[in-house]
Structures are given as C-alpha cells and as structure tokens.
Amino acid sequence: MSADQSMPVSESLTSAAVLSKETLLRRLKEDLIVSPILEPSQIGDGSVDISLGTRFIRSRRAKATEINFRELDKEKIRSFQESVVVPFGEHYILHSRSFVLGCTFEFIALPLDVCGFVLSRSSYGRAGLLIATATFVHPGWRGCLTLELENLGEIPIKLHPLSAVGQLVLLNAAKLPERPKAKIIPVSPTFTTLNEDPRWKKIKALSPE
C-alpha cells in the first residue's frame, strides 16, 4: 500500500489541492474568470493555458544607466521604459538574453478561495523562453497578469500575441472575507511598484547616500 492510500486525506489537504479539470470547468461557470477561453483544450487538469497579449513594456537602454530601487520615482521609471503594441498577426522579437514585460491576453478574476501560480509551458521553456519570475496570484485578484518574458537562449525568439506561452495553476485557498480593494485592475503590463515600498524610507534613514 502506498503512502497516499494509507493516509486519510484531511480536510486541510483537500482545500490546498490543485483544482481538477472537472472543478475548473465548474468554477469557470460559477465564479472563476479566465476570459476568453479560445480553445477548450486550454483547460487541463489543474491548470489553464494562458496566452500572450498585444502590449509590451521594454526598456529604453539608451536612457537609463541603472535601476536604483532606492531612488526610483514614478516619472523616472517611465522615462526609461516604453510601451509597445504588437497587433494580432504580428510578432515581437525577443533577442537572446533580453527581457520584456508582456501580459496575458486573458482577463483573470480569481474567486476569494482560489489562488494561482503562473508557470512557463515547458515547450516554450525548452526553446529558452522564461515567462514568469513572480508567479503567485492572490485569491480575489483581477486583471491581465504581467508576464516577465526573458529569452535565456542563444537565438532570438518571435513572440506572437495569442500564443499559449504559459499556464495558470489554480489551487484552493483559505477563503478571504471579501474581495481586496484594487489599486489598479490592470489590462496591460505594469512595471515595478517597488518604489512605493515604505521600507525605502527606513533604509534611507539608516544610510543616507
């Protein structure tokens, strides 16, 4: 008898489980939103394939010498980034060792008792494309997810809007009492908001530059 069979499945373990395909289909009809689902095959056991949207944020290398989180302000951030739109049917070329922010084509709204993780699809990963570094999606979150796209390989990669580059793994979570208030409900990639971290004030007080 295997360990799985011998151990009773506790209530807490059940609530932490990855959502099955059957549950995903049911929740998509009730309170989970991943929209639009263009192909039924996007929904798998435990995850939903997510595709690339049309909007990207890339760095203006010639404008920036460094990213110093300690000294960043909103205007400074904007001065060294630019927004790019790639219409459907066209592509963005991500060169070797380059980085660009993209976002999901799908609009996502998680119920209050479901959280998620964003993962690369292995088929793209094997070509060198990494799609996410900050992968956790909180219960109750709404919007289009920002994807941190990086080409780790040696050869440039064409990024096509609507290609299914990632997957959103969904799990049960302890239910929040209410939907958290939003600062923004994003529909395009959003750059770092690290400059808003109150911790910087204290760091600066300790060691003024």
């Binding site: 639009p36 263009l38 219409p87 459907f88 709404r142 939003a182 529909v187 395009s188």
Partner: protein, 486 residues
C-alpha cells in the same frame, strides 16, 4: 520682371520630389504594418504622376520652343510652379495624416470598427487619426488618386495624357480612402470615443448615398421670403457707404431682387445639405449604438464648451440631442420602463427640449431649421423615415439593450472586463461591442460610485474612471478576437 531665376523652379521641383518621397517612406516605416497601405499607394501614385506630368511637359516644350529660349524658360517655370504647388498641397494636407496615424490609440479597437463598416461597404480603407484639434471629423476621398491624376490629365497634351492614364490604371485602389479624426485627449476613453459612431455613419452615408435620396427639400417659404427681404435691404458694404454723399448701396441695388433670391437659395441649400447629412449621421449612430451615442455627444458638446447655437455646418447641439432622444423614445422603445437607463434618459428629456427650444436661429440657419422642422412630422414620408431603413437591421433597440446589457454591466460593476457573457444556451459567448459601450455608459451615469468602491481609498477618482475605460477597451479588443476565432 521675374524676381526668381526661372531655372530655379525646375531644380527646386526635383529636390522637393526627392524629399517628399523620402518623407513618405520614413512615415511608412513608423506605422504599424498594413496601416494606410492604400493611402500610401495612392500618394506615391500621385507623386509619380506629378513627376511624369512635368517631365513630359518639359520634353515637349523643349521640342516645340527650341528656337525661343526665353519663352521656353518661362513655360518650364510655369509648369514647374504648377507641379510644385501640387507637391506642396500633398505635403501640407496628406503627410500630417500619416504622421498622426503613427500616434494611434494603442488599444486595438480598429477590428471592431472595420467589421461595422463592412456591413455597408467593402471597398474602403479606414485610418484613425488622432488630432490636436478637439474635434471628431470624417474625411472621405472617393477614388482618391484617380481624381487627382485626372486633374493633371485635363491640363496635359495628348502624349502626357495617355501616359498619365496608363499610370492611373496601374493600381486599383479601394473606392473610399477615409480618415476618422478624433481628439488625442480622448485616445484612452472608450466612453468618449463613442462619438466615432457618428463619423462612421458619415462614411455609410457617403458610400450608400442616403443624402441623395433625401434631397432636394423644398425650403420653408415664409422664412425664406423673410431672409430675401432682409438681404435685399442689407448694405452691400457692411454699413460703409460706397460714396460719401450718396445713399448706401444695398444688395438689391447691386443684384436685383431675383439675383439676391438666387444667392439666398444657393446658400440656404448648401447649409441644408450639410445639416441633413449631420442628421443622417446622428440617426444612424443612435440606431447603431443606442443610448451610448446620445451620452457621448452630450459630454462631447460639454467638453467643447459648445454654445447652443447652430453653425453653417451643424444644427444646434440641443436640437441634435433632442432628435436623438426622440428617436430612442419613439422608434427604439426606450423610456418605456422604470429601468435605470430609461430613468436617466427620461429625466434628461425636458432639459434637452428646453435647450432645443431656446436655440436662436437667424439668416440661413433660420430657414433651414424651419425647413427641417416641417419635414420631421409624424407622417410616414418624413425625413427620418427615409433614413431608418438603412440601419433597421442593426438597430440597438430597447429590447436588445434589455437582453444584452445587464450581464455585461454586472461584470463591469465588479471590476471585470466584460469580454464574454452567458448566452441563452448557458455557454459563454463574446459580448457585443455595442453592449459593452452601453454598459460602460450606464455604469458611468447610474452607479459610478459602486464601481469606484472596488478601489482603494487612495486611488484618485479620475484614475478609477481611467481604469473603467481600460476595462472597456480590453473587453472590446478581446471579444472581437473571440468572435473571429470562433
């Protein structure tokens, strides 16, 4: 005496031709792929035609005036000036359109607009032009390049004419090369951009020639006679006497009464045609996108700080708003229930009617207003009854609103981009663009605080409104993809 060396014109022409071609190429590179392709082809064709025209003319002149160098130089200079002026006009009128297009709205609403226009005509290219003038406008050029080249042909000798005709026949362009201008400030506002439906309606009117079915209309006789009498007695020199001792010269003394009458008739009909075309576009737009068109225009007039007075091109704003509300109520079935949207519209009715009644009309505007009012009666043959059949298959009536908008609105209110809705079979299907826009307006007009409540307290209100517009754009873009995918 010539102040410029005659030879200079031809040299300058070559320089200008080169720089213009280079500019078109550079601007083309800055545009998203497949944008303004037909327009650029047309521009290049006209530039080629101007070059061909001048070179052929110069060759012919050289042969014909070989023994008369002074006359030859003068003729070459004359033709170069004509060609330079055409290039100058291309530079001034058309290149700004290409430049503006490179600054287009980053949300991809174009596919939805394209689909809507295709219901009425296939042979068109449409370019969205963000404009720094705070205005929405439609510019349509029918057989754009051919017409320009035909003008050159009319002033050419037989050989040049044939060469130009051959060039003209080389490229078959779309029948309509059209531009929709919108204020740059509105580029991120899906709600405000609803005014574009009116501008698109101008394209439908042009392509299907609705206005031709409505005109001519007999002018209102009593107000027309009043205008003629007043004009007859109007001093021809704006109060300045022609001679210091004699009586003032009036229009009647210069033109005679029938002459004044003929001029008034022409000017009144010019205004009438422009107003009729605005009314056609208003009625088509209100049917196409329902209350959203009324709300967007109401805000647009306010943003412009528009006075409630007519111009030679447009009827008074309040009169137009009243026409829209009347159409919503009388023909489309709105304002017959206690729903939130009907309540907002019903409540607006008396205010708008008061505004329409208060509008002041004089001169041609008075004649045209009276003429239009006479033709807006309830009889089956009235003005609007001739417009409605064009759009009847796509009219967003109250029943459609009731079926489509509530589910979209419910999602939007809770901060969800309403890309899909549950259809009658219980499956998800793409929300209609019209339902998305109307849900946006209903939310804005009836429960915007509910939407604002989805955000943290430190987020400024205008940022929350901007986020509503982003959700609407996202829903329009993604629902269109979902529709085409299936």
């Amino acid at each position: 005496m010539q102040s410029i060396d005659q030879k200079t014109y031809l040299e300058v022409f070559e320089q200008k031709l080169h720089s213009l071609r280079k500019l078109v190429q550079d601007l083309r590179r800055g545009l998203p792929n497949r944008t303004s392709d037909q327009f650029i082809q047309g521009l290049n064709l006209i530039i080629d035609a101007v070059e061909l025209f001048l070179h052929q003319r110069v060759d012919n002149l050289k042969a014909a005036l070989a023994g008369n160098p002074l006359e030859l130089a003068e003729q070459i200079a004359f033709h170069s000036k004509v060609a330079l002026r055409i290039l100058g006009a291309l530079h001034e009128e058309y290149l700004p359109l290409l430049h503006a297009e490179s600054q287009r709205n980053e949300y991809l609403v174009y596919p939805s607009i394209d689909r809507a226009v295709r219901l009425f005509t296939e042979s068109f290219e449409l370019t969205l032009v963000p404009d720094f003038e705070y205005n929405y406008a439609f510019v349509g050029k029918e057989n754009f390049a051919s017409r320009e080249i035909e003008l050159l042909e009319a002033h050419s000798d037989q050989g040049t004419k044939s060469a130009l005709a051959a060039l003209r026949g080389k490229t078959a362009l779309k029948q309509w090369i059209t531009f929709l201008h919108f204020p740059v400030a509105d580029r991120d506002s899906a709600l405000n951009l609803c005014v574009l439906a009116h501008e698109l309606a101008h394209l439908v009117d042009e392509a299907t020639k609705i206005y031709q079915k409505l005109l001519p209309i007999e002018l209102d006789k009593s107000s027309f006679d009043e205008l003629v009498d007043a004009r007859c007695n109007t001093p021809a020199y704006g109060g300045i006497t022609a001679s210091t001792s004699g009586p003032q010269l009036t229009f009647e003394k210069i033109f005679t009464k029938p002459g004044v009458e003929a001029r008034c008739y022409l000017s009144c009909n010019e205004v009438l045609e422009r107003w009729i075309r605005e009314i056609i576009a208003d009625i088509l737009a209100i049917h196409a996108i329902g209350p959203a068109s009324y709300f967007a225009f109401n805000d647009f007039f306010a943003y412009m700080g528009a006075e409630n007075i007519p111009s030679s091109s447009h009827p008074a704003p309040a009169f137009r708003l009243q026409l829209m509300l009347d159409e919503l109520k009388d023909t489309m079935g709105y304002m017959s229930s206690s729903s939130a949207i009907d309540s907002v519209l019903t409540e607006a009715m008396p205010r708008v009617a008061a505004g329409a009644n208060a509008a002041k009309y004089k001169d041609e505007a008075k004649v045209v207003q009276k003429t239009i009012e006479k033709n807006l009666g309830k009889n089956a043959d009235n003005l609007l009854a001739k417009i409605r059949p064009v759009i009847s298959g796509y009219s967003f009536k109250a029943s459609a609103y009731g079926q489509q908008v509530p589910d979209v609105l419910r999602r939007l209110r809770s901060g969800i981009a309403p890309i899909e809705v549950l259809d009658s079979s219980g499956a998800m299907s793409p929300a209609s663009v019209v339902a998305i826009l109307n849900a946006g307006w209903e939310l804005y007009k009836t429960d915007i605080d509910g939407f604002y409540g989805e955000f943290r307290g430190d987020v400024p209100k205008m940022e929350r409104l901007a986020n509503l517009n982003h959700l609407l754009f996202k829903a329009i873009e993604a629902s269109e993809v979902a529709r085409r995918w299936k």
